[in-house]
């Protein structure tokens, strides 16, 4: 069908394009919010889209939230007086009384910046800009001092290290491979052709027989690969339906169950299949393909004639 439809099983949480065949959607749809294993990966801190700004933004967001708390504190001073610690409340009271004093008193500490925010509500961009400044300030801040590291500094540090060691993660290009959507055409009234079946097997690095077994078991039908390496399936199926089944196949047998990397090997080991991840090294068993119960749907008279 569409030539530019892409299949994108990358880690990114990017909004899925309508035409795209996006494994994230499949995974998210199937697992819902309850996925706990992938939580750190999906939480938005690790997912780094192409533009490098975003990691900063992420941090900015976090810091902003903190600041917002301070901000609110002033606004809601009357409504919730208990929540802010006493020491932080004091400067605000001073603030009202005497601005100059405060500036001198707190000029050395971080509070100055907070105060600035309180005094003159800034537009978001300004705050962000300041936060970026702030981050640059804080990174080397503890060098030479023996004070305790703040949470944000440590968080920053660990993400810096992560980014440094995994440049590919920053660009967001990692673990992204493009797969064409299945080309599904009806043949006559009773059969369906899956034209690029072999090509998709190659993209997924899976034996055609394995994918074939899965497709036929899931669709509850029969079929075979013909001379033109296309798969002929009995029954009428639409592209969307084949796509759904493929998504489930990829989720179960291609992407790593731990890190969702598609760089995996499927090994057969004493009747069981194992998915070995080349990225994180995890190895887990995957469900064996069983077609299960199949109802008799053909003409019973014909079957009887055949078996008799």
């Amino acid at each position: 069908m569409d030539e530019d439809m892409v299949f994108d099983p990358s880690l990114k949480k990017k909004k899925k394009k309508k035409t795209g065949f996006d494994i994230d959607a499949a995974l998210a749809g199937d697992q819902g919010e309850s996925t706990s294993v992938e939580a750190p990966a999906a939480s938005g801190d690790v997912d780094l889209p192409e533009d490098d700004n975003l990691d900063l933004d992420n941090f900015g967001k976090k810091k902003k939230k903190k600041k917002k708390g301070v901000f609110n504190m002033e606004e809601l001073e009357n409504t919730m007086p208990e929540t802010p610690p006493a020491e932080e409340q004091e400067p605000q009271e001073d603030d009202v009384i005497d601005d100059l004093d405060l500036e001198i008193d707190f000029s050395k500490t971080k509070k100055k910046k907070k105060k600035k925010n309180i005094e003159e509500p800034m537009i978001e961009d300004d705050i962000k800009g300041e936060d970026q400044e702030n981050i640059e300030d804080t990174t080397g801040d503890w060098i030479g001092t023996d004070r305790d590291y703040t949470y944000d500094e440590l968080l920053e540090r660990v993400f810096d290290i992560m980014r440094e060691k995994n440049p590919s993660m920053v660009s967001g290009k990692k673990q992204k491979f493009i797969m064409r959507p299945p080309q599904v055409v009806r043949i006559g009234t009773k059969k369906t052709s899956f034209a690029n079946f072999t090509e998709i097997c190659k993209t997924l690095h899976r034996q055609p027989k394995h994918l074939l077994d899965f497709l036929l078991a899931e669709l509850g039908t029969s079929g075979s690969v013909d001379g033109n390496s296309q798969l002929i399936i009995k029954g009428r199926f639409q592209q969307k339906q084949i796509e759904n089944v493929l998504r489930r196949y990829i989720k179960e047998y291609v992407t790593c169950h731990t890190c969702r990397s598609p760089d995996t090997i499927l090994q057969k080991d004493t009747r069981l299949f194992f998915l070995q991840c080349e990225t994180c090294g995890s190895r887990c068993s995957v469900a064996s393909i069983k077609s299960g119960f199949q109802a008799v749907t053909g003409k019973r008279a014909a079957i009887r004639a055949k078996t008799a």
Partner: protein
């Protein structure tokens, strides 16, 4: 020295076993099959044999306004068959009635 306490005895082993015997892999497989033309068929395999499937099918037929039957299969036991794509209906019904836990359900098909 007695190492009796270190024996790996699972007091619930028999309970787990008996419940798994009934439903093979412990899952209830809901599948769809195409029949001639646009018609489809939904099958439910793996329901516990403790349940009266005849009663279930009677309730389902009424609830989903479709025909249905119970077939006996040598390997898979009693299997529920319903006309049309009733996968969503049957899943909801089975969980709502408490016969099957949501995590036990495995829906196949497109």
């Amino acid at each position: 020295m007695s190492i009796q306490n270190l024996n790996t005895f699972d007091p619930f082993a028999d309970a787990i076993k008996s419940s798994e015997d009934d439903v093979q892999d412990g899952l209830v497989h809901v599948r769809i099959q195409q029949r001639n033309g646009r018609k489809t068929l939904t099958t439910v395999q793996g329901l516990s044999s403790e349940y009266d499937l005849k009663k279930i099918v009677r309730a389902c037929k009424k609830e989903f306004a479709c025909n249905g039957t119970v077939v006996e299969h040598p390997e898979y036991g009693e299997v529920l068959q319903l006309q049309g794509d009733q996968r969503e209906n049957i899943c909801q019904w089975l969980t709502k009635s408490g016969l099957v836990k949501p995590e036990q359900l495995k829906v196949h098909g497109f």
